[in-house]
């Protein structure tokens, strides 16, 4: 069961029908903050709401509708699916992000999606660090029925990526999905390792990786903004997948990221199963955030 949105419950509480004055606006801003929108975006949204409506009577439903519209307007330009260019042989997608965000699982889900579209897919177990990371991706490969390139634990991640590139090129694979170990963006040595992986991939094939996707966990707070910032600088991130939106967190920090970086959002994870990946829809996301059914 999905919990109702905190914003929705709160709005209903504030505006049975109330005036949009300083107090209600402040309460509203607080509510927005409880969905991890951040102080900056929350105050921008309430400012937009009060525009032309200040000191007037307004219903909770109206407030929600306006807020959802404002959020949708921020998100609409960034809602872009992951598009495989058939001219790329292979089209290389590198997955990156902090520990435990959902990179490996998302690769499994994406592999399934591309397979269902009739493309040939290969996976590369580029997390050569974490215990059983290779086994985990191997299980996903079996579930989808696609080959997984592996090396023993402790191997150089860049070397694995190189080998996988070679295999995918030789086999004429359509899509190569490369997993990486989780790393926190303030760990310079690990970020340097990621930069090396990108370099090696690019050396092997001009234009690759064609997509470098950062996976964000919806329960993460404002640190996600910094994650996007640093991973972009080091690994030239091209888009976002947000996972774990089946929980009670609404992933408001995504709005902050969209506002700040205009970074494309490709898809959302809504569970642990193979089919629990959905396209990112700005309207649906905005409505879920403010709690419109």
């Amino acid at each position: 069961k999905k919990s109702t949105s905190a914003i929705s419950d709160g709005i209903t509480g504030i505006f049975t029908t109330a005036k949009l004055d300083d107090d209600t606006l402040e309460e509203l801003e607080d509510l927005l903050i409880t969905s991890d929108l951040g102080v900056g975006v929350a105050s921008k949204l309430t400012a937009a709401l009060s525009q032309g409506r200040y000191n007037k009577e307004i219903s909770g439903e109206e407030v929600k509708a306006v807020l959802a519209e404002e959020i949708e307007a921020i998100l609409k330009p960034v809602a872009k699916p992951l598009v495989i260019d058939p001219a790329n042989k292979p089209h290389v997608i590198l997955m990156a992000g902090v520990n435990g965000a959902g990179k490996t699982t998302t690769i499994g889900k994406l592999a399934k999606k591309f397979r269902d579209e009739g493309k040939s897919v290969m996976l590369a177990a580029g997390d050569t660090f974490r215990a059983a990371a290779v086994e985990q991706l191997t299980v996903w490969g079996e579930r989808v029925g696609v080959p997984v390139i592996t090396k023993e634990i402790g191997s150089d991640a860049a070397a694995l990526a190189y080998e996988a590139m070679e295999r995918a090129i030789n086999d004429g694979t359509d899509v190569l999905l490369i997993d990486t170990a989780g790393r926190l963006q303030n760990r310079d040595e690990l970020m340097a390792e990621l930069a090396k992986v990108v370099r090696v991939i690019n050396k092997k094939l001009d234009g690759a990786p064609h997509d470098t996707v950062i996976v964000l966990d919806a329960t993460t707070g404002q640190n996600a903004v910094h994650q996007v910032e640093v991973f972009s600088r080091i690994a030239n991130i091209s888009g976002i997948v947000m996972t774990k939106l089946d929980g009670s967190a609404r992933g408001g920090v995504l709005v902050a990221c969209a506002e700040k970086f205009g970074m494309p959002v490709h898809a959302i994870g809504v569970g642990e199963a193979i089919e629990d990946l959905q396209p990112f829809d700005a309207r649906d996301f905005a409505k879920a955030l403010v709690g419109i059914e």
Binding site: T34, G102, F129, L184, H226, S248
Partner: protein, 307 residues
Amino acid sequence: MFDSLSDRLGGIFDGLKRKGALKEAHVTEALREVRVALLEADVALPVVKDFVAKVKEKAIGQEVLKSVTPGQQVIKIVNDELVAMLGAEQSGLNLLGVPPVAVLMVGLQGSGKTTSTAKIAKRLTEKDGKKVLMASLDVRRPAAQEQLKILGEQTGVKTLPIIAGQQPVEIAKRAMEAGRLQGFDVVMLDTAGRLHVDASLMAEVIAVRDATSPLETILVADSLTGQDAVNVAKEFDAQVGITGVALTRMDGDGRGGAALSMRAVTGKPIKFAGTGEKMEALEDFHPERVASRILGMGDVVSLVEKA
């Protein structure tokens, strides 16, 4: 962002300079800035509200120390209250029971349960001389049981042999039985990640609890968690009953407001801090460090401390 709190507080108290008592108007204005700083640090809103009210009561009327500015003094008061709320006490695991004592590890997906299980087991083995058995009850995540097994090999801690197809409660019972028969002091039960809103998975972990009567149930939570931290902590505590929290990814550069949120809504101590992926990267929780991180004001605090 970090200096600006100090700057902004300085501005508020400019007229007051270095004498007299902290006035209500000033304090109220200062706490508005503190409130924003806490929210930016991901402290959950209800916790922020309570906190600010408490600090206000303490701050109004306090004599300003000679050698610091009123702004700095407010920061010091805020800091001390943060430390107090984060829980100054140092509490390890309670293992005082008839062995084998069960320790149950719970939390959201990917929070760091399996890694923390192995880290804690390693510490209990090496530092406390305990005989520890680890068992993975995670039959959902691909290669989860394998992961704990490998970590067991790396740390030299025994793991329960994997039997394919066994369900969590059965595995838990088998682990306790093995613990009894083989003379283990502690049995650490790693569980699959689950959402607090997932009724069937919550029921599963409750069944495990009832089958093993753990002395400790540790909620493993990501220190980078945002406002949802209160819901997670409250629900896990209400449904399963936790005895403490392990905060992971403290090696990140998050401001760590989740620590305060979780502590405030559950009243349960934060018993461990995970500071890396490696098996050694486990520390005791240091409230002062986290407080100055939340405020981003470590320097000011030590300045006032010396005054």
